[in-house]
Subunit: 342 residues, 2 copies
Amino acid sequence: MSEKVTIYDIAEKLNITAATVSRALNNNPKIKEATRELVIKTAAAMNYKQNKLALALKSGRSNNIGVIVPRIDSNFFASVIRGIEEELYPHGYQVIICQTHESIKRENENLHTLVDAQVDGIMMSVTGISNENDSAFRNVLEKNVPLIFFDRSKHIDGVSSVTINDFKGGYLATKHLIDEGCRHIAHLSGDQSLDIFKNRFLGYKQALLDNGLTFNEEHVIHVKSSVEAGKEATTALLALKTQPDAIFSSSDFAALGAIQELQARNYSIPNDFCVAGFSNEPFTKFMELSITSVDQSPLEMGKMSARVFLEQVDKTDTIKIEKKVVLAPELHIRKSSTKTTF
Amino acid sequence: MSEKVTIYDIAEKLNITAATVSRALNNNPKIKEATRELVIKTAAAMNYKQNKLALALKSGRSNNIGVIVPRIDSNFFASVIRGIEEELYPHGYQVIICQTHESIKRENENLHTLVDAQVDGIMMSVTGISNENDSAFRNVLEKNVPLIFFDRSKHIDGVSSVTINDFKGGYLATKHLIDEGCRHIAHLSGDQSLDIFKNRFLGYKQALLDNGLTFNEEHVIHVKSSVEAGKEATTALLALKTQPDAIFSSSDFAALGAIQELQARNYSIPNDFCVAGFSNEPFTKFMELSITSVDQSPLEMGKMSARVFLEQVDKTDTIKIEKKVVLAPELHIRKSSTKTTF
DNA sequence: TATTTTCGTGTAATCGATTACATGATTTCC
DNA sequence: GGAAATCATGTAATCGATTACACGAAAATA
């Protein structure tokens, strides 16, 4: 019952060779119609299932693609993965998940493991920018495995990426806060060696300058993406001589921390302080005091990454296509920053 | 540069056979120490990487395991997957993700695809209980692929499962609401053909009876796990002759919907109404009016599932071990149900 | 009818690694 | 010193499917 049926078993039963069986099952036009039907019928009757491992070995394609993310239990990454999976499912690809936990060592290990496992492509959000790990990336490219960055990208020749316009996201959020009457807008940034945080910061700065506000170095604080970090940063901001009247955070979690800290100190939001975050995590919408946030359309980002992969995978590897897709960010304005009553 | 190096290449360079190379790399004790060292050094120098596909074909083990969930972009499932990945990573397994989107057809397809892809095991949370799909499960078992259910389980001989004690979870939450002084507790349930929802309901009912309260059929409403469904159900509950004074929801999202609907109608929570949810989604903690919820320790559930898999995978397939792990639920009491001031 | 095409299928190599068995060289033991 | 044991390596089959090439039979052509 549990014995695996191979094309040899089918061949034996029909007194033909495995080659004929293989050809019949693959609709090779050279096979007589009667033979083809007989083989297909017999295969079905014997409950034959093609051995994908054998196929993978022979063809050199595993039909697996690897996805590397810092962690999977964040709505953003999970949604991207969902998009990738949905887009690739009809094409018969399986999605292998790896987490780096923000460790570069782990990122390198994952890259090697995936290449060793002969995945047909890798999509990833970079954990950090460092020079040491370049060998891992080089390894991927040397093996001609299509590599696509999403969200957190890295500048490597011949590598495609799907990101959002983070500069514009930062700009939009900041402009909105200015429009609400805020004049001293602080910014909670992330690791600026990562483009996403750098660009959100630059967008923030440009919005200030474009609107005649002064940029105050003190008002930019680097935080981890956590509630606790947001609280601490807010405490630090409140201790400044020139206190801010708004906070644009590159992280929704830090934005939440800021709100909690401000409320604990009896500041009123949005009256005393306006707050905006980034990522549009589900909770920002659910709060009674809903939080304004920049949406990154993660589902679309995942689907787009998958599409870019599909475009690349069949090209001869001599022609390298480097595609840079930039999605538009969308500002979701909510209570945490809406002074104007409707 | 990008040419793949095989053991034959190494053998040729050293004027020995591939068999010797293979044995040297696998630390076969029959190999002379000098040869072993030479082979290992040469392999490293040539940047040899073992071809996992060839190994998989020969050994019949792919070192991949499959995980099937209704969707990945929910904190609960993402966390379980995180747990699985973390636990399996040190053992060299890769995790393949499949989503059913609550479709039984998709569930069957996923099961077949994973078996065809020769995964070494499957962990899944069942999408629905139906008889039609039994053939897909039978197929898995016939092929002797270890199968482990987590959270949403199904009764199949020889299949292990990792769940939480949903009865106890329902009981704890309900008991807590009673302790807070609620006397007419409504319940938002899910599809009761799934054990998890059935058991939460039974726990709820038992808690009522154990505490001298009457069970009122009208107070049990079946909803989907969504904010909208929670709102609708609440509207229906408020229209009843005997209005409830508390809601225990099997879903955090429905609980949130209930809260929003109640607040829209100017009911005060927790004074007029106490609300408790299930799953301990991140937002329940983040809300200003934080929501009481039953934690399912998803990370632990994932790790435990992985451990059960590891225990099973090496046993001879004649001895079938069926292990039922039941984790303890933990009630997180928050503002939405705390009348008593501390 | 003789010759060339076409057709359908068989033969055998291939993908890359593992491993039972065979073999020759060396060592051990009486 | 010769038989037996041990050691290190080679030979070749195997996992299951694909496919270039070969080949005989039938069909088309002259």
